[in-house]
Every structure is written in structure tokens, then in C-alpha cells.
């Protein structure tokens, strides 16, 4: 119990020490997570709406595959991305392996199905009702889409925050494709895992608390922005 309390005190000291390495790690974590969430949102939200509202053959199978993809094992995704980006892989000449770009790609592979899945399922459930109502009120397709986005804003929020949560807390994939290289690809989660394995519990707890704090702040800001309530 004592070392947990000491860890919390150490966390405060660590943050107040303004150690550039710590802030670099936090900065890179934020950058990689935000970038992958942003890319996933730009792709996943329109695609989710489009597929959720369309009645196409094989929709049920697609829904099942998408739901499965929402819980893809990060290590497997990391491995596949690493194989593709490795020097001997099909995209090896891009020299992206062990770079933040590779980490963004791996995280996007994990976040995109989550964002798309949430939007697909919610627009499938509620979308038809909204579409029909808009039709009876004389809306055109663009009007309907705008109303739908407004109606499903809470679901969009859930999609983005779940995606960001997955990205910022992810360790397996970024470890494989990033390599946890100091001052280059080391992020909060890989830093915690490394220090824990080295027996530096205080530092692990400290960084874990920072990670929790960031997740809380980002969620609070996103929720306030999208719902306009800040509750």
C-alpha cells in the first residue's frame, strides 16, 4: 500500500520537475493518439453513416465482421502492420517502421473499426426513423444528413471518445511497430510497461496517473464540445 501512495507523491514531483523527456513522451502519446483518432473519425464517421443507412446484400455479415473488428487484438494488428512496413515487407521502401507514422497507422487500424462500428450500429438503429421523419417534413438528402448528425451527436461523441480511449491506452501494437525507442517512439504506455518490467513502480504509477488525467480531460472537453453542455 505504501509504495502506491509514494507513487502518487512521486507522480506529482515528476510532473513538477518539468523533465523534458517526460513531457516529450506525453507529447508524442497525445500526437499519435489524436492523429489516429482524427484519421479514423474522418474515415469512420461518413463510412459508418453510409453503410448504416444503406440496405445492401450481406449487411448482416458485414455488421458481424465490423463488430469483430472492433475488438481486434492490438498485438496481432501491430504484428501485421510491422510485417507490411518492415524492410522486407511490401511497403518497406517507405521506411516507416519504428517511426511515429507507423504507430499512427497501427492505431488507426485499431480505432477505425471502433468509430465506424459505433456509427454504423447507431445509424442503422435510429437512422431509418430519422430519415422517414425528415421525408415526411419535406427534407432533402442533405437536410436529412445534417439532422441525422445532430440526432446522433451523442453516438458520435461515444465513437470518438472510445476511439481515443483505445488509442491512448494501447501498448501492444505501438510497442511492436514503434519499438519504444527513447526520444523517438516512446509513448506513455510503452514507458509504463518498460519501467514496470524494470521494477521502477513509482515511475510507472506516476505515468499511469498522468495517463488517467489526460484521458479524463480529453473526454470532458470532447463531451462539452459536442453536446454543448459540458456535463
Amino acid at each position: 500500500m505504501r509504495y502506491i501512495l509514494e507513487g502518487i507523491i512521486y507522480a506529482i514531483k515528476l510532473l513538477l520537475s518539468f523533465d523534458p523527456e517526460i513531457y516529450e513522451i506525453i507529447g508524442l502519446s497525445m500526437y499519435v493518439s489524436f492523429a489516429s483518432t482524427l484519421i479514423s473519425s474522418f474515415l469512420g464517421i461518413p463510412l459508418g453513416f453510409l453503410l448504416g443507412l444503406k440496405h445492401f446484400k450481406g449487411r448482416k455479415i458485414f455488421a458481424r465482421l465490423l463488430n469483430t473488428a472492433m475488438s481486434l487484438p492490438p498485438v496481432v494488428v501491430g504484428l501485421v502492420v510491422a510485417l507490411i512496413l518492415s524492410r522486407r515487407g511490401p511497403l518497406g521502401q517507405l521506411q516507416l517502421i519504428f517511426t511515429p507514422a507507423a504507430m499512427i497507422i497501427a492505431q488507426t487500424c485499431l480505432v477505425l473499426p471502433i468509430v465506424m462500428g459505433v456509427i454504423f450500429n447507431s445509424s442503422r438503429d435510429k437512422g431509418t426513423e430519422v430519415e422517414k421523419m425528415c421525408l415526411t417534413l419535406g427534407a432533402n438528402k442533405l437536410d436529412t444528413l445534417l439532422v441525422l448528425v445532430k440526432e446522433l451527436r451523442a453516438n458520435i461523441l461515444v465513437a470518438i471518445t472510445s476511439g481515443f480511449g483505445r488509442a491512448i491506452s494501447e501498448v501492444g501494437a505501438v510497442m511492436i511497430v514503434g519499438g519504444n525507442i527513447k526520444n523517438h517512439t516512446r509513448v506513455m504506455t510503452t514507458f509504463i510497461a518498460m519501467n514496470h518490467s524494470m521494477g521502477n513502480y513509482y515511475i510507472s504509477i506516476a505515468m499511469g496517473l498522468v495517463l488517467l488525467g489526460i484521458s479524463f480531460i480529453v473526454n470532458a472537453i470532447l463531451y462539452g464540445r459536442i453536446t454543448g453542455t459540458g456535463d
Partner: protein
């Protein structure tokens, strides 16, 4: 606006739920549509509202085949209206926004209809939190604000208290005071049909069994099926 049904058929999984060879709905009249559950009443309104595709036949609006612009002149209201997660004012202003009205016009018309409907106290409440009767009044205000030529009402007063029913009925009658709107009104309440409808259509198994002036059809039904339906209805109510 006149609505003409020509050889209209609607099938679900090979089962015919609507089969109307020829029927006209004329402007200026309120048509009461009665019949047992599964008679095809809602399906009839939905095919007219273009919410359901026809399996066969065609529906003409003012002797013209369907065009997208028709959608701007009609509306369909269900017994459980879907209100958007926004304030009452915002909900009512949606149809005007869809028709690109100016902001000042929207504000004026919304305030006017809110006052006409006596729902000033609900104006800034979240529409999804309203009670059934309040929600129905808001939905009706939203449906009428753009003055649709065709009004399709699917049991708009079911599960309502008598006070709310009276308010809704008065609003509908007032809406048709110029006798230029075509109103189709599904109801399970024969007394209500007699009260507010000019004509009554009795549907059973997707077929119009009987139709005519409301008072005549209800007072002296010709078919055995309608007689049985009316006697059961009187028994229940």
C-alpha cells in the same frame, strides 16, 4: 389536393396487405379510415406518403404521377410521433428550415403556431421529454406549420385523455376550415370518426369493404363485416 389510387397493391413476403383497384380522395374532406388491426390502414397512409413502395399500381396526386415536389406538400403523423432531440421551438421550425424560409419568418410563424396550439409553456423544453399528449400536439404543430395540402394522420389521438383529444380534433377541423386540404385520419374510435370526418372508409384485409358519408356508413352499414365491427366497437366503448 386530389389523390387517386389506381390498381394499388402492397405485398409483404407474398402476402397482399393492400388491394385497392380504384379510389379517389378529394380536397376539402376529412376521411376517416376505420377497420380492425392488420386491415392495411397504416399501409394505405404510408404508400400515399411514399414511406412504403407500392408493389403494383400507381398513386396520382392532382391527376399527376408522383414527383419529388409532392413530398413538400404532404405530411404523415403517427400515434407515437418522433420528435428530434431538440427544443419544441426547434422541432417546429424544422419544416420551415427545410423549405429555406428566412430566420425572421421562421421565428414569426413558429411563435404564431405555438400560440395557436396553446403550447407556449413548452416552447423551450426538450421535445423528447414531453408527455404523450404534449408530444402529439407539438408534432401536429410541426406538421401543420408548412400548411401541407395532404395531411395523413395515423391514430393521432390514441392513448390520449379526453381534453387532449378535444384540442387535437379542434385543431384538425380548424385546419380544414377553408375546405382545401385532403385529410386522411385513421381512428379506432367510431364516435370520433362520426364527429370529425366527412367520409368514412372501412378497410378489412387490405380491401375497401365500404365507404361513403360518415354519418350514413356508420348509421346504416351495408356489409355484415362492418356491422360486426361497429357492434364490437360500441360494445368496447
Amino acid at each position: 389536393m386530389e389523390i387517386t389510387l389506381k390498381n394499388v397493391k402492397k405485398r409483404y413476403h407474398q402476402k397482399t396487405v393492400l388491394d385497392i383497384p380504384d379510389f379517389h380522395f378529394f380536397p376539402g374532406k376529412i376521411y376517416g379510415i376505420i377497420g380492425p388491426n392488420g386491415a392495411g390502414k397504416s399501409t394505405l397512409l404510408k404508400v400515399i406518403a411514399r414511406l412504403e413502395e407500392l408493389s403494383e399500381g400507381e398513386i396520382f396526386y392532382q391527376q399527376q404521377p408522383f414527383r419529388k415536389e409532392i413530398l413538400k406538400t404532404m405530411t404523415y403523423l403517427t400515434q407515437k410521433p418522433f420528435l428530434f432531440s431538440a427544443s419544441v421551438v426547434e422541432n417546429i421550425s424544422y419544416p420551415l428550415k427545410f423549405r429555406k424560409y428566412k430566420r425572421d419568418e421562421i421565428r414569426f410563424l413558429v411563435e404564431k403556431i405555438i400560440s395557436e396550439f396553446g403550447i407556449e409553456h413548452l416552447a423551450h423544453q426538450l421535445a423528447t421529454k414531453l408527455s404523450g399528449g404534449e408530444a402529439q400536439r407539438v408534432a401536429l404543430a410541426r406538421a401543420l406549420i408548412f400548411k401541407p395540402q395532404i395531411l395523413l394522420l395515423d391514430e393521432p389521438t390514441s392513448n390520449m385523455d379526453p381534453n387532449s383529444i378535444e384540442i387535437i380534433e379542434k385543431i384538425i377541423l380548424k385546419y380544414n376550415h377553408k375546405k382545401d386540404k385532403t385529410i386522411l385520419f385513421i381512428t379506432h374510435n367510431v364516435a370520433q370518426a362520426k364527429r370529425i370526418c366527412d367520409e368514412v372508409i372501412y378497410l378489412e384485409n387490405g380491401i375497401i369493404v365500404e365507404s361513403g358519408k360518415a354519418k350514413d356508413v356508420i348509421a346504416s352499414p351495408k356489409s355484415e363485416n362492418l356491422r360486426r365491427f361497429l357492434s364490437l366497437e360500441y360494445y368496447v366503448n
